[in-house]
């Protein structure tokens, strides 16, 4: 099996339900991610963006519904099939998740050393090329502890593309970056997507940065997709919920609070709340 799916949608979620304890994270989620594009997934904190990525990569299984990636039906894959699929994916974790006892060079070389028998000279060539692409060739001999947060993430990005994946997934790539690193990452996402012919999925709540890279956007809230379309269109959309999120208004239909019992009851410890 490969990711070489029929043209159109590379990743497709249909009627996905997923719960964490009593909390329904997804309740009938439908989403189709087009091939070759940069797709943004937005949503307030705690709506399940990271959970969505874990469902796509098979780290979690949905309670119901289907998750298709290329020709793979993710929830029913065996472990070896799952690893076969992941070899064609790269993922950038929120904090980089570099291996702390390996140097930057060895971090990027790690997938090559694990999955290929390439000679050292070739590995060196590939790794330095990828590090150069993220502007960190000079940091090859440093260790993750010696890097700033932004540099960490760029190394992780180099590592994510070292096996030349077909899908690249970013979890909150903009959080905690200074404006310069932010601009660098934004341009990298675009450039990698177009130069390597990738399909990119970017999870974030930075509406402004996404505007610069996203071809297509989804807005998640309350367990489902509440809006989708070209990023510009979403910016201009009139529905109160979409406007609230896209323009950062505090008041609106999206609940800012995690479901809780009545505030007064909670403070004065009266009666039993809903949960």
């Amino acid at each position: 099996m490969t990711l070489a799916a029929p043209e159109g949608n590379l990743i497709e979620l249909r009627g996905v339900r997923f719960r964490r304890g009593n909390f329904r994270v997804f309740d009938g989620l439908d989403m189709a991610i087009p091939k070759g594009k940069v797709t943004a997934v937005m949503g307030p904190s705690g709506t399940g963006k990271t959970t969505l990525l874990r469902l796509i990569t098979g780290q979690l299984k949905p309670d119901a519904g289907s998750v298709r990636v290329g020709e793979y039906e993710v929830p029913s894959l065996s472990l070896s099939r799952l690893y076969e699929m992941r070899r064609q994916m790269g993922m950038l974790f929120q904090n980089g998740a570099l291996l702390t006892d390996f140097s930057v060079f060895e971090n990027v070389a790690f997938p090559l050393r694990e999955h290929t028998r390439l000679p050292d000279r070739l590995i060196r060539h590939i790794v330095l090329t990828k590090l150069h692409a993220v502007g960190l060739r000079g940091a090859a001999e440093l260790f993750p502890g010696e890097l700033s947060g932004g540099m960490n993430r760029r190394v992780a990005l180099a590592r994510a593309i070292v096996m030349d994946p077909d899908i690249l997934i970013y979890d909150e790539p903009f959080v905690g970056l200074d404006p310069i690193s932010m601009g660098v990452i934004v341009r990298l996402i675009r450039r990698l997507n177009d130069a390597l012919g990738l399909t990119s999925v970017v999870v974030s709540h930075d509406v402004r940065e996404l505007e610069l890279v996203a071809d297509h956007s989804f807005l998640l809230a309350e367990g489902r997709v509440v809006a989708s379309g070209a990023h510009r269109e979403l910016m201009d959309e009139d529905s109160p919920l979409v406007r609230q999120f896209m323009h950062g208004e505090a008041d609106g239909p999206v609940a800012y609070h995690f479901p809780a019992k009545d505030y007064g009851d909670d403070l004065f410890d009266r009666g039993q709340g809903p949960r």
Binding site: Q59, Y83, R87
Partner: protein, 255 residues
């Protein structure tokens, strides 16, 4: 009623932990042949765990030997049999103190390091990142550390025992004036091959137990700073208790 229920709950929790640890061990054993093929990773871990514990084990072995020499000499002198000091100390070290004390020291030094290392890798998403790179952390991270501990333990026990005997020699022969020839020949005639085998068997069993507890606690740690801290504490406590229980069971079975 409440007390019985509490004891019952504790027992159930204990059995459940034992069960999931057994399943974990089963997975490691199934993976073991593949792990041994990547021998370089294992050798690296033998070196890691070995060098972590070596200094503390040598130091402790020496002082345990000194104490055994003093106490043994004092006791045996009352029966006018200082001559068997070498044999008595060697027997105690080879069959009991060597394996048991080494395992306890191993848990405190290498075991805690293993548990916190693996736990921290989990808490910082390094294990998830490996899974995403299609690398199984059980095979790449947990298995080499487990095998490294299992292989290192018998050597550490041997070193502890040898240095302990040397400590007793210093007290008995160099200080108290026991005849060196008698010291060694008594040891040779008193210690049988079965005793040595018992010691080796124990050191292997304890090596498996101590390494298993450490990697299990690290791998199943709650992925927070507090969770990792708790995993290291549990590693020491669980290893100590299970080594002492296993020691009794093996000793009783072999007697």
């Amino acid at each position: 009623m409440g007390l019985i229920r509490e004891i019952g709950a504790t027992l159930v929790a204990f059995l459940r932990a034992l069960g999931s640890m057994a399943i974990f061990l089963g997975r490691l054993i199934i993976y073991a042949p593949a792990g041994l093929l990547r021998f370089r990773l294992v050798v690296q871990q033998v070196h890691n765990t070995g060098s972590l514990s070596l200094a503390i084990i040598m130091l402790s072995g020496f002082f345990v030997g000194l104490v055994l020499g003093l106490q043994g000499f004092d006791l045996l002198r009352r029966f006018n049999s200082e001559n068997v000091l070498g044999g008595a100390v060697a027997l105690g070290l080879i069959k009991e103190l060597g394996p048991v004390v080494t395992a306890l020291l191993f848990a405190g030094r290498a075991g805690t390091a293993l548990a916190s290392e693996i736990g921290l890798m989990k808490a910082t998403d390094q294990l998830s990142a490996m899974e995403m790179m299609a690398v199984d952390p059980m095979k790449r991270v947990v298995l080499p550390r487990f095998l490294g501990g299992v292989i290192a333990m018998p050597f550490l026990v041997a070193i502890f025992t040898a240095i302990g005997i040397f400590g007793a020699w210093m007290i008995g022969v160099a200080w108290m004036g026991v005849d060196p020839g008698v010291f060694w020949s008594q040891m040779q005639s008193l210690v049988s091959m079965d005793d040595v085998r018992e010691g080796i068997f124990k050191s292997i069993v304890f090596g498996v137990a101590a390494s298993l507890v450490a990697v299990y606690e690290g791998y199943t740690a709650w992925p927070t700073a507090e969770g990792v801290g708790r995993a290291t504490t549990r590693t020491v406590v669980i290893t100590a208790v299970s080594v002492l229980i296993l020691d009794y069971m093996i000793t009783a079975a072999l007697l």
